[in-house]
């Protein structure tokens, strides 16, 4: 983050900074990480900067997760949707860059868009699974083969 942004939001002692999110896409990232549920913990705050100037991309969004370290599957999902996004862990004021491995499979997080899929059946103990077809721009349900565009994943985050 540039000095100018730091004027907007103060530094944090520990937590996560998700930087270089495409401009106006922060809400999608918030959906991916289920940000609302994170703030059930009273120590956690979610700070969002939208459309701030960026030397590299013109404009960008930034999310700070104060007192929360993002989990690896969530980090990987962000990277899958927004390859430009960078994830930094802050530990004792120091910035540590984190590069998640891109997943071959998404487990548990995403709901199948096909309403008649067994993974959407109430009460069946189905673990949701998707194969990642990054080059084609889709994820594919392991059970029913339905395709979901990677860009639509935020609308299908399992409740």
């Amino acid at each position: 983050m540039s000095g100018e942004e730091q004027l907007l939001v103060r530094k944090i002692d520990w937590g996560t900074v998700i930087d270089h999110i495409p401009s106006w896409k922060a809400d999608q990232v918030l959906k991916l990480i289920e940000a609302e549920s994170l703030t059930k913990d009273p120590d956690v705050s979610v700070i969002v900067l939208k459309s701030v100037p960026s030397r590299k991309y013109g404009r960008k969004d930034v999310i700070k997760l104060y007192h929360y370290y993002i989990k690896e599957p969530d980090a990987a999902l962000i990277k899958l949707l927004f390859p430009t996004a960078t994830i930094n862990f802050i530990r004792d004021w120091k910035v540590q860059k984190y590069v998640p491995n891109l997943p071959e499979e998404l487990v548990g997080k995403v709901r199948c868009p096909e309403v008649t899929c067994i993974s959407n059946a109430k009460r069946e103990p189905v673990v949701r699974r998707f194969r990642v077809l990054k080059e084609q721009g889709y994820v594919q349900c392991y059970y029913c083969d339905a395709l979901l565009e990677i860009s639509s994943i935020p609308d299908f985050i399992a409740a």
Binding site: T116, I118, A121, E124, P125, Y143, C144, D145
Partner: protein, 324 residues
Amino acid sequence: MSGERGAGALPRGELRGRDVVSAKDLTREDAELIFEVAREVEADPGRFSGVLRGKRVALLFVEPSTRTFSSFYIAARRLGGDVLPLNEPEMTSLSKGETLYDTLKMLEGYGVDCVVMRHPARGAARFAADVISAPVINAGSGSQEHPTQALLDVYTILKKRGKVDGTSLGMLGDLKFSRTVPSLAYLISNFDGVELTFIAPPALQVRQEVELFLRERAVSYTKVTRQQEIPDAVSRLDVLYVTRLQKERFPDPSEYERLKGSYRVDMGMLRHARPTLGVMHPLPRVDELDAEIDRTPHAWYFDQASYGLPVRMALYALVLGDAG
């Protein structure tokens, strides 16, 4: 295919103990082995009469079925197996709200050696295969797949044409909600030089995942969406595979009403066809296939239906039979 098995020798192969959930999981070798055994079954069914002796097969049909259920039932009985038919809602507790998971666990507890399952949910067969250790044979998973129908469909093409390679296959009708179309496209894509033509209005065209699969496999296919293009498309086909409008799978009944009667195969359409064109249909048909075709050499569909029995006997024998 060798067809060199000695009398009394029972089939072996890579299929033993395997689930048959998707036609995507079947290789050309798998299909050819099944066809080889199916031919042997047709030639000498008596030789196979004890292949499933002592084996218990559960037929868990949560959706209505006549042909598929009967042929799986008769096939297992002819091979000497015990059959647990669960095809009426009151026969399982699914109608009382029991989960599929619990039903499958119960069947596993009874020591069944195989579950043949039809279920309205897409993906149900894959889920079932993960839940129980006994092989699961998918007899229809919603609008997703029907791999054993694809086996008998390709067997029909082999029997009628003498080869599957180089087949120009057109699929016409409700390609979107049909479960036989994806399975047939997946299975036949194992063969060389196959060309597929999907003939349907845009609202009923083949599903995206099928196209993706075919592109990955570099299988040549085209889509025909306009009525005026159909005669030319049909004139280039070896086989025309017709499907019924899947009324029960339309989320919106008005959409069904709008598309009802939007296609019909009759002698007028076949005027442009090669004399050797075979017309196939997974049956049941409603009004999409004119009965006039029944009396012509184009009609392959009744033979096609009859191949369900030897193909399913062969599949049971290979998945469950004791190798001799």
